[in-house]
Symmetry: C2
């Protein structure tokens, strides 16, 4: 059967040949997850994704969500899909079994997540946000809060959300106006209005919804330092775990969006009519810091959503290009029509999609791998290294990956020609769905600022240096392989230039030219991403080169891995070099232009 969502062979390559996740089983924590178990997990996840989740993807788009008489309805087919996820215990794969998790390495969970999100990510947002809410309770909750809420959240019995955004507080969360009034019993009355709440209300998947809410305690300072985190259930929870009264979390409407129609995006009014009672989660005025601890995970999930669309777009386009007969070869104009995969421009499109897809897969899995390694590390330096890599790679895994995923999906639409624009074919929905991933969980502009403003200088640049070193190590290994040496040399030249660019950016961001520096934050994100992608592709090619000839039927795959690296390094890295030259040139037109010169 043609691969529909993700190339299974490549998933296995990343898991076992690039990251060797089977070795995690040597550690006590992951003793249950040897290679055989990992393969079984991926099998099961893939089956569930293709057989049960993928068929609900179109429903999400065409039936979508409705809001009538104060009730939100989501597509009916999502109920069964959610039920299967719960029953298969896929809702908290890498969490502590004590609280209903499966205790898997994150790298392994990511493979399941890739198939699930590739099949229907707007649906997967319901369990995804639920998991995030659980993580907040696990990390900051009191014992009682954990006892009452955590297992029900991690097992998917109750859904969860995340209430940050308000009409005047989007990228600037610190501007939020929702208030929390202390009550004598230690709880808080929450009053405010939240918007853009994914899965904010529904009755079909769960009989309660747990909302972590950012709000300001009466009298707390303005801005981010006066924000606290609260646990606000839709229905109050009695001490015995049973449901109590409605907690006045009222859905006032849902958004009509360009894509992800299957996920309801709700406006919620808290405490507008009656009492909405919240419990403090964690410390007062530490809400932003608490949220930030969860942010990396949420951002990487968004990276996976974008990537899921890209991977599916590549698979669909590839299948289409092999089947669609159109036009003769330019070298044989009288030879009649050929499958369009034989035409040079279509091949360029497919190679672009292939190389980015493979690079992005490895980037995302590698970040999960670093997270696992950080948790396993006993040596503090090793722990610091891997934690640092997660930090510096998160804006890449979210910002760069979703930017490029959008490009890949759009390229896939181009492969389909006119059919790409027709809603009966998959590319239109993929393009509409993928577009939000560049915006939410911090716009990609925010990701770029995070990379430049926080990550580049973190620990005096040590973390960014460790990324550069990791890339350098892989390049050196590739250089030692004669077949790959020319590619490695090109990558090395670009990496050296990136070193120069990072120095330049770090210096100007601390100078009076700080505004100009930040106007290059996004191009900087692009080029750090490009070098990270080149790194992954070269690393992959090095493994593939050494594996060639071992099993004849595998050579086609390994050759493809090498070709992806070649295409990217020779065709995309020169463009990255050009971007780096522009950054080094540092022209300041964007900042020096007077606002009046924009006219309008």
């Amino acid at each position: 059967m043609a691969q529909l969502i993700s190339e299974r062979r490549d998933v296995d390559f990343v898991l076992h040949e690039q990251l060797e996740v089977g070795k995690f089983a040597e550690q006590e924590k992951f003793a249950d997850f040897n290679k055989k178990t990992v393969d079984m997990i991926v099998n099961e996840a893939r089956n569930l994704a293709i057989k049960e989740l993928l068929p609900t993807w179109k429903d999400g788009d065409t039936i979508g969500c409705t809001f009538e008489n104060g009730k939100v309805r989501i597509p009916e087919s999502f109920e069964r899909a959610y039920d299967l996820l719960k029953k298969g215990e896929w809702t908290a794969m890498s969490e502590d079994p004590e609280w209903g998790g499966q205790g898997m390495p994150k790298t392994v969970a990511l493979a399941a997540s890739e198939f699930f999100n590739g099949a229907n990510y707007p649906f997967m947002m319901y369990p995804g946000l639920t998991h995030g809410a659980g993580k907040l309770v696990e990390t900051f909750g009191t014992d009682k809060q954990k006892q009452l809420f955590l297992k029900k959240i991690y097992t998917g019995e109750w859904c969860g959300t995340m209430l940050l955004t308000e009409a005047c507080a989007g990228s600037d969360v610190g501007a939020l106006e929702t208030m929390a009034y202390p009550q004598p019993d230690g709880t808080y009355k929450i009053v405010g209005n939240k918007i853009f709440i994914s899965g904010g209300e529904q009755e079909q998947l769960s009989d309660n919804i747990i909302h972590p809410v950012l709000a300001r305690i009466e009298g707390a300072p303005a801005g981010t330092k006066g924000i606290s985190l609260f646990l606000v259930p839709k229905y109050r929870v009695n001490d015995d775990g049973s449901l109590g009264a409605f907690n006045d979390v009222v859905c006032t409407g849902i958004e009509h969006k360009m894509g992800i129609h299957g996920n309801c995006t709700c406006s919620l009014a808290l405490g507008g009519k009656d009492d909405c009672i919240g419990e403090l989660l964690g410390e007062p005025n530490k809400g932003m810091a608490h949220m930030f601890l969860m942010m990396n995970e949420a951002r990487l999930l968004v990276g996976m959503q974008g990537f899921g669309c890209a991977s599916a777009a590549y698979m669909y386009s590839l299948n289409y290009a092999k089947e669609r007969v159109q036009g003769a070869l330019i070298t044989n104009p009288k030879g009649g029509g050929v499958p369009i995969i034989q035409h040079p421009d279509v091949r360029r499109q497919l190679m672009m999609m292939k190389s980015y897809t493979e690079a992005m897969r490895s980037i995302l899995y590698y970040i999960a791998y670093c997270d696992d390694m950080a948790h396993l590390a006993t040596d503090p330096e090793e722990k610091e290294l891997y934690e640092g890599l997660v930090e510096v790679l998160t804006p890449i895994g979210k910002g760069y990956v979703t930017d490029r995923s959008f490009d890949v999906v759009s390229q896939g639409m181009q492969v389909y020609g006119g059919y790409g624009f027709i809603e009966e074919y998959p590319l239109a929905q993929l393009l509409r769905d993928v577009r939000i991933t560049l915006i939410y969980e911090g716009t990609n502009g925010i990701q770029a600022m995070d990379l430049l403003g926080r990550k580049l200088g973190m620990k005096k640049g040590k973390i960014f240096m460790s990324l550069m070193q990791k890339i350098g190590t892989s390049i050196a290994a590739a250089k030692a392989v004669p077949e790959l040496a020319p590619m490695a040399a090109q990558a090395e030249a670009s990496l050296n230039k990136l070193g120069e660019v990072a120095m330049h950016m770090g210096k100007t961001a601390m100078s009076e030219k700080v505004m100009t520096a930040f106007s290059f934050a996004h191009p900087f994100l692009d080029v750090v991403g490009d070098l990270t992608a080149a790194w992954m592709l070269l690393w992959r090619a090095t493994i593939a080169q050494s594996s060639l000839g071992k099993k004849k039927k595998e050579d086609a795959f390994y050759n493809g891995v090498i070709k992806s690296a070649e295409f990217f390094i020779y065709n995309q890295l020169p463009v990255a070099d050009g971007k780096m030259n522009a950054i080094l040139r540092g022209a300041d037109a964007a900042m020096s232009i007077d606002e009046s010169s924009f006219l309008s």
Copy 2:
């Protein structure tokens, strides 16, 4: 009032300061179109666009087109809009007054077209295709055909379409299967099925629809050389011009598309039940050549559609960025929220949008200008020069302009943040609408092949050389202006590299590496487009620099023109240099990869 579709000041700049269209009035043919008249035309067009067409744009999207009981319905508000276009005599602006046209220079007509298409291009496709059908009748019709059809088409009384595509004949028109059977009276019975026919059926705008149809006369050769063009009315036309019997052109369905919902995309069955009678238009077996004569115009219209979306996206985003308050300045973190236009990353986004929008406006107007000049030229060499420039710039005006327009609209969505993804705001529809412009009228891959395969080598490269020379002349002029000399030097270096790239592409496209060469056709289109954009921006900056200080209130505009050039030349041209390096490197991974290595 904030500009909603296009920056009027910039339109005037291109018309009067860059291209000096008022001078056309010195020629007898255009004596009626002095500067004052031109300004009046632009005023009227802009008013009509903003007051009457723009309010119908959302209707097109939300009401859309329906197909029930064999009837197509388009949004009701389109009826009045179409009526106003007809009454205002906007349907054949640059055509011969003898046939109902206004005899305007194309450059002037383009300004009206910019406002109309920016307001509601899916609606404008109805009159747009009508005009194209009229042009075919004017160029290839017999006297009788012209008498019977032409004036009614040009005045919009009857609508027109273009029937090329079939399910197995998209990019490869030569594969079409529609047949034409000669009848004793000299007419033909047409039998076949066409798909993707924009405006293929409706009853609300006109009581007849004239379909130019590509079909193969019984016994004609296979492929493109056996294709003829026919005139096929929906209702036959009696010799006195009155409507006769239904001509068995049956709409069998409409497409459900990602965007341009206001334009019905029809499947048409010809002669499936009864007789569908067509008259030959032009010479037998010359259908493709005849169509090609109209292709440039159709492609430039698509360029304008894409550009219209980009220009509107820029205007909307700019207004939003000035109004939306969010986040403090990084240089003044305690200063409270500021309009987002003050944030460096947003400024970069707006400058990207501004510079591309201005460059694309100038490119499209310049192509129309070349067309006018070619028609006015009495000197054969001058005529050849301008005709050649139209040829070589058409793939830029369609392919490059729509590629970049999509980028600009997507960037605009990013400026809006979460609101960009919500359908109540304009960006979502703009992004959905603009996307088809990269596909239809020859996908942008086809445009790239046209540039490399036909235009680059046309007249032994003389035409491409004349483009290079034109660019060089503008660079030389800018170099003589001290303030612009550094920019000009950067552009000159890139132009020299483009010369090298063109030589390389020309050579490899004629060698055994032809397939590899064509796998770089699209990057080649990109860089020729980039240099064309840089040329326009530098030309504009040269005028702006010499105009600074003349009228104080104009300086903001002129400074903005110069900043656009600076931004593009220092930030985008280095990226073009990188792309050119990749082209020169000529890596062949896309062609040398074995098909089996794509897997799936």
